[in-house]
């Protein structure tokens, strides 16, 4: 499920050059988890609230032009990390669980998390499907999208909030530290190969699914950390995509040379 969730959103995030937003939001999620543990409220839920509201905040700062996009991200990343560190150091006794959130605990995920991820998945798929035209337009060029009649500001805000939700869901699988990888790397691989936009979206989801499946299988049989195995698989896919892309470029260059003769 997460395999579909992360890359389908990732495409729009990467194209908007906001790749680091995933990383920032994952640290915000960590803060949410820490607070969740201390207050013994369901940690994933607290993380969800924290990430979505921070995403909205980052988007506001960015769109008002008060701060460059990366500066806004830095502020949120470090302040939430600082809060997380303080909260964790003040309390003790949940180190094992926290470790799970940091590095992913997909093989021991609980029902409640599964439900939450499932609902998020439905919301995100509906969103991407129904706002496909708007998302594509604003990813291509914000000014052109505005003149086409897309409500760019609202779109950006919605995208940011759902990115927050996606980060929270993915966190359970690959862990806080590697969420960004699952959102960004399959998309990069797809971008290397796809010529059209729809192809890119489908390829990104395909790469995501394949990485999670291969990564989990390897992790299970070789007894490795699942999150790490999944992320490494995405990197291998990216390398493969690059190789295939090069071969294709070489072939078409040769074909071009032949027709020139």
């Amino acid at each position: 499920m997460v395999a579909i969730l992360a890359p389908s959103f990732g495409l729009f995030i990467v194209l908007r050059r906001l790749s680091l937003i995933a990383d920032t939001l994952s640290h915000v999620a960590l803060m949410g988890v820490a607070i969740g543990f201390v207050t013994s409220i369901y940690p994933t839920f607290v993380a969800l609230i924290a990430t979505t509201s921070s995403a909205a905040g980052i988007e506001q700062l960015r769109s008002r032009g008060k701060l460059p996009g990366d500066a806004a991200l830095a502020i949120f990343l470090y302040s939430s990390l600082a809060i997380a560190v303080i909260v964790i150091s003040k309390s003790s006794g949940f180190n094992a669980d926290l470790f799970g959130y940091l590095f992913g605990t997909v093989l021991s995920i609980n029902d409640r998390d599964l439900w939450l991820i499932g609902i998020l998945l439905v919301v995100v798929i509906l969103f991407v499907a129904s706002f496909y035209a708007e998302l594509t337009q604003s990813a291509f060029d914000q000014d052109l999208a505005h003149v086409s009649g897309v409500r760019v500001t609202a779109m950006n805000l919605a995208l940011a909030i759902l990115t927050g939700a996606t980060v929270t869901a993915s966190m359970r699988v690959v862990g806080v530290l590697m969420v960004g990888a699952l959102i960004v790397i399959p998309v990069l691989a797809a971008l290397r190969l796809a010529r059209g936009f729809r192809t890119a979206l489908l390829l990104a989801i395909g790469f995501g699914l394949l990485s999670v499946w291969v990564g989990l299988t390897v992790a299970f049989y070789a007894d490795l950390a699942a999150g790490g195995a999944i992320v490494l698989t995405t990197v291998v896919m990216l390398a493969l995509a690059e190789v295939i892309g090069r071969i294709r470029d070489y072939m078409s260059a040769r074909r071009g040379a032949e027709t020139d003769d």
């Binding site: 594509t136 291509f140 052109l144 003149v147």
Partner: protein, 287 residues
């Protein structure tokens, strides 16, 4: 809505008022004042964050059917004017209207097409075919099934044909040259049959032949397709031949009227150096 010529004149300086009375002309290219105004600046000011104003007390109308060319040196506020007209910026003072409505609140975007200046940055590292980009111009509000739409729609093929890039339909946008990319964006802008087309001509990246073909295409869109054109241009010669009305801008309006009434004096004021030679050549071709 129509605006009396008198009101327009009051807003601009005395140099303009001499020529903006648009007296009877001999060649029929005088400014008609009976056609409806589609875009209008009224005492428009704009400054970026408290700095010196980039646009100072600009007033002029664009009427339906006009080929309006905006001329001016670099940094004269031309692109700022365009962004104001498109509602991408809000005027600090005064107003900008599109079809009689404030451009910041304007929502009927299907009537407007836009081709930006920096086409070289647009579409780089973006996975879309020329056709997919042109299809964007057909956007008419929320369409939940957009992702399932078939390619090859009639309007798209026609727009590609008008722009002269039918052969590039399946090519990735990032593989195109600047000139081709500009044509793709023109196709995107005209595919929805807008009434008013805004274009910001690129300064560089297109060769002389490409520039001529660009001006031919714009003239034909204005003449044969009945689109009102608002073109920001750097090519005085080409504009003299194609445009029906010119606005020379150097933060404020230096000249507004039919292009053959521009004098060397106006252009010297505009560019800060004598441009008589260039101007005479263009006028000879024009007549």
């Amino acid at each position: 809505m129509t605006i009396e010529p008198k009101e327009t004149i009051d807003a601009v300086d005395s140099v303009v008022s001499q020529v903006a009375l648009w007296p009877e002309g001999s060649d029929g290219s005088e400014l008609a004042v009976d056609r409806p105004v589609v875009c209008e600046f009224t005492n428009t000011w704009y400054s970026y964050g408290g700095a010196e104003p980039a646009v100072e007390d600009v007033s002029f109308p664009v009427r339906q059917g006009d080929f309006a060319a905006i001329l001016g040196p670099n940094g004269s506020g031309k692109t700022t004017l365009l962004r104001l007209a498109l509602g991408l910026l809000k005027p600090t003072r005064g107003s900008v209207e599109l079809f009689g409505e404030s451009s910041a609140r304007f929502r009927d975007w299907s009537r407007v097409g836009y081709v930006p200046q920096r086409v070289d940055g647009i579409g780089t590292r973006f996975p879309a075919t020329v056709e997919e980009i042109v299809e964007q111009g057909l956007y008419r509000g929320l369409d939940p099934l957009a992702i399932f739409r078939k390619h090859g729609r009639k309007e798209v093929l026609e727009a590609l044909d008008v722009a002269g890039i039918s052969h590039l339909r399946q090519r990735p946008i990032e593989s195109l040259s600047v000139g081709q990319r500009q044509r793709a964006l023109i196709a995107r802008a005209i595919v929805g049959q807008p009434d008013l087309l805004f274009l910001d001509e690129p300064v560089s990246g297109v060769d002389a032949v490409g520039r001529d073909r660009f001006h031919e295409l714009i003239s034909s869109l204005n003449r044969d397709h009945g689109m009102t054109v608002f073109l920001i241009s750097h090519d005085i010669g080409a504009v003299m031949q194609g445009a029906s009305v010119c606005a020379c801008i150097n933060r404020t309006v230096v000249f507004h009227g039919p292009p053959h009434r521009i004098t060397g004096e106006h252009l010297s004021e505009l560019y800060g150096f004598p441009v008589d030679v260039l101007l005479h050549d263009a006028l000879h071709e024009h007549r």
